[in-house]
């Protein structure tokens, strides 16, 4: 977690959990840590975790059994959409902007390919 970032902590945590779902570290129906546990894990306030779990439930990624805990949804189809969904969300804005400033498809692919190679 980057505590200085402009990106809210709760969104960073959500992104992190989503990655774990996409990469298969979290599987359908699996129980997530309790709010207090996850708070300790990420070194953040329990209330922030509550917000994370609420938001993910709104996105149909988790569900809650009252008094028991929070679980990854069992809807495998929903989960399988995650990867593409994240890509679209992230790439959508980028493509719009670059089209706007006059990138052709070839220029565009060239540029992002080059950036891909130098990243990480």
């Amino acid at each position: 977690m980057d505590f200085r970032s402009n990106i809210p902590l709760y969104l960073q945590v959500i992104a992190d959990i989503k990655k774990k779902i996409i990469t298969g570290q979290l599987t359908p129906g699996e129980k997530l840590p309790s709010t207090r546990e996850l708070a300790a894990l990420y070194q953040i306030n329990p209330n922030t975790v509550v917000r994370v779990y609420n938001e993910m439930e709104l996105q149909n990624l988790t569900f809650t059994k009252r008094g028991i805990g929070t679980f990854i949804t069992e809807d495998a189809h929903r989960l399988s959409l995650l990867k593409e969904e994240m890509a679209k969300l992230l790439a959508g804005e980028l493509v719009k902007e670059l089209k706007d400033i006059g990138y052709t498809k070839e220029e565009f692919l060239d540029t992002v390919a080059r950036i891909y190679d130098v990243t990480l």
Copy 2:
């Protein structure tokens, strides 16, 4: 301008001006409208325009002649970098995220190409 967007107004305006520079609608040395004029044009608060001009000056894209106005920099080289700079900035984060969730180069290029085609 999208007043409801999460993206701050001043950044939206800056992006808009940058696009005008890249596409040649604004040329080196050209005078920009006064803060009041620009505020009226975009229907935003003059304070927000002040922030726009400050930020652009920090990025060496404009300079101010006191009592006269704000001008596009005459450093043509600086301006020529803009296009690539915007692309890198926008694409950098995207690539990092998608690499993280396990996109190979081919998958990645495929996906963004597809998104390119359906955008706009």
Copy 3:
């Protein structure tokens, strides 16, 4: 039972038992399953069943013979009230809200009749 619902499990179970009384599937004086049995039946925690039986005893719908079990009350009059009681409880809040937002009697009856037709 809907484990994800906002409605507490113990209330869901109570409602279920009441329905069985109203529809005659449970009769005055009949013995109810033990807490463990009912827990197994509904796939819920035995503590939750304890709460169910406590609550129903408070409403004079059941009584307990210590060491023997829990029984449907033999007060037939009490049971006969159940149907109307449930209706009043459920409808009371509804009517209050809809009156508040300006439904006339005709509009109100029209609306609920329409909803009746499309339900189930």
Copy 4:
């Protein structure tokens, strides 16, 4: 506001604002009080109001201009749906339950009509 109720404060406030929209006390595009003002008005914590405004924005009933305030949506169609929507939500559960325990349509309408007359 009923501070003792099981119904969360933020939901009570939302219901209250919705009623004001339905009865025309709040009109499309109108500015709502600031979070701090509304908090003072209802004698609740500003954070609770933040939650109210967030929730209403999710339901497309309000929108936010950053740094300016929160406003009733200008989508009159969305607002016109509110009355019917509230009725359906409230009546749906009721009808389902009463059908379950064997109310015919006539009995049902009779009963709710009677309850309508005695309410308030």
